[in-house]
Symmetry: C2
Subunit: 401 residues, 2 copies
């Protein structure tokens, strides 16, 4: 009932156009993206819980919180417009207003979003020149160009789309996102823009997005840092005339598809984590509570010692159990079992059962699962993280972000 | 009233002897230390809060918790004897019993402690051979040899001693410690052994040690990891016949000296942090509560982005305020002021006042203060951390610890 569109993006969804251009915030690369919906869309969003919030995020959060239809999202990279005070806030309003005018829209039909260096004023004139160019060059298939224009230290474009069969017919979900460093979610993280042509009430849309974000972006960590600019926005323009009703089978199907596309994006962000050489899936099983499961998984996902061991392809289960032990979760260390993929390393009663050859084969792969069974209750969780390499240090020591 | 003894250690304290030898847990370096007190000493201790606790730690914690006088502490490096189950526990008892017998003591007059790789059985025979050697070679000035024998990835010996003038005369405080990675304290951290010839009741001793640890070892972080083997032990043998009475001026003086020696050790651990090139002091001022102050300081001390920026000598205050903002502390970002040493970077209302030359001079130093004033209340705290370099990754990816 859910099928992936090869190389899909938000412009695979009916009524969405997009483009990405270079306006001059970065030296050469694309740095301005615009996404539009031909018809007004209901919106849902999750926004960073960092006390320090960027100006464009405050503006977009306010609009998404109101019963306001959205027709466009303008996103720049190269400058976060965060920690820029009143001037930064007025700059953001100025950019929003200029973009709305060029599109023939009301100001509050346009969401704005920024990512890049914190604490520097944004070059408003450059962005306005970019808006002139991008408004006149929107493309039916421009989603991937938009995905490219929102990247910062990312090495790869991130975009996905799915066809979803509902009782009334087929709808589409499409999305673009970015994220590579300063990644540990708290309600939302990084930037992700998702569109659908399904018709969904605002309150249901927000509920479904919240659930999907909790099980995807809120379970990843590159470095335990929550950014000032994180937002996930979902726009539903209803252009398919297929409605997702509350508490229907369709709600379940749509919700599954939305979780799937959010998970695709979350994993793509981790796989492209700064300096990452491996994608690590952390499965915690049989925890006493879901909070305990998340405490353990989060501790492992943020542990420099676990992440460097994975980089070194070292079956260092001692660091894994030590990290779990200091996570604050309730469990008895004597009962813990640890596997790399399906290869046992530690069984209960501290029985070490490593087969060095088996484990070496697993740890040399690009994608590894750490499976930790705490044998305390029945709650499970899955998180995603990446390893720590010297390149994480280099990227963050030598470049300002 | 407090004066430092040059190159001092625990054996500068009357009645304490020590030595460090090589018994074979490490390839070549010293790996076994013994500290003894000529007369029975009152003890106080703080021990890791990690759920996963090493066998020797469980044994020593139990003894310190009882009203039991101590005459010796045996410490090995090269093997943590953690996550080794019942066999590891019995091995630890066996070693403790053997050492007591060789010293002519009861088993529970001997504390034991281990540090090194987790999850491997300890070579009991090697340790026993080492005990034979070390018992017969204790030295009046062996504290520094003992300090050397407890190191793991540390690059430097860590030992301190102070003369303290009390109303009844002069007493001495001396200590040795180790610690370089897996460092973020929670009640206790790393290994530290402190001796004094003052006479102090057990309950007062424990109270004073708890306070000192809270303001020293509990405010440092290399990598946000709490080990399975962390312990701080303070022995007071009373050999000076000078008593520290509860609620006396002497208590205050002794407490200050104890805090000073603990702070010396905590800072020495951070300065020798794995891969560290800089010692960073984090001063948080005018927080709403002391919890808020600690939340902000801990977040900065653990932030890979702040620590890599310091390594790169980048005045990236955006990462500092973003990290504070996601710490969970209550403050208004608009009022935050940030200084590197005494050089202002950000004033309230997001006024950026960086003088690039001034800041470059500060950040190129080996010791840097990050001062963050949140202008919210009146609580202050100081934490210590180090920068993150490629060497942290190399040390932890390539060597098993």
């Amino acid at each position: 009932m859910i099928s992936q569109i090869l190389n899909g993006s938000i412009t695979d969804v009916k009524g969405f156009k997009a483009n990405g251009v270079h306006c001059g915030l970065k030296k050469k690369k694309k740095d301005l993206a615009l996404i539009t919906s031909d018809v007004p869309a209901n919106s849902a969003g999750t926004f960073t819980l960092n006390k320090v919030k960027a100006a464009p995020l405050l503006i977009s959060k306010k609009i998404v919180g109101e019963d306001q239809k959205i027709k466009a999202v303008l996103v720049n990279s190269g400058n976060a417009n965060a920690c820029t005070g009143e001037k930064g806030y007025n700059d953001a309003l100025d950019i929003q207003s200029y973009c709305a005018e060029k599109l023939g829209l009301n100001q509050n039909e346009v969401l704005i979003s920024s990512t890049g260096v914190i604490g520097e004023y944004i070059n408003v004139a450059a962005v306005k020149d970019g808006v002139d160019e991008i408004v006149s060059s929107l493309k039916d298939d421009g989603g991937i160009l938009a995905a490219e224009a929102i990247l910062t230290t990312d090495l790869k474009n991130k975009h996905f789309a799915y066809k979803v069969k509902l009782s009334g017919g087929e709808i589409t979900l499409g999305a673009i996102c970015k994220g590579s460093g300063m990644i540990m979610p708290n309600m939302a993280t990084m930037l992700a823009f998702i569109g659908t042509d399904a018709e969904i009430e605002k309150s249901l849309l927000q509920k479904l997005l919240g659930n999907a974000v909790d099980n995807s972006f809120n379970k990843i960590s590159v470095d335990g840092e929550t950014s000032t600019n994180d937002m996930v926005v979902l726009l539903a323009n209803g252009i398919s005339d297929i409605k997702v009703e509350t508490a229907s089978d369709d709600e379940k199907i749509f919700s599954d598809a939305l979780q799937k596309i959010c998970k695709d994006m979350a994993i793509a962000i981790i796989a492209d984590g700064e300096g990452a050489t491996k994608l690590i899936t952390i499965n915690v099983s049989n925890a006493a509570s879901s909070k305990d499961a998340d405490k353990i998984a989060r501790a492992l996902a943020n542990s420099p010692l676990v992440k460097t061991a994975m980089y070194g392809e070292d079956a260092n289960w001692g660091r894994i159990i030590s990290s779990a032990g200091s996570s604050g979760a309730n469990f008895n260390p004597d009962n813990v079992e640890i596997y790399f993929d399906d290869k046992p390393v530690l069984l209960s009663g501290y029985r070490v059962v490593i087969n060095e050859d088996d484990v070496k084969t697993v740890l040399s792969k690009k994608e590894i699962s750490i499976n930790i069974d705490v044998n305390e209750g029945s709650e499970n969780t899955t998180w995603w993280t990446c390893d720590y390499s010297e390149n994480y240090i280099k990227i963050n020591a030598l470049y300002r972000s």
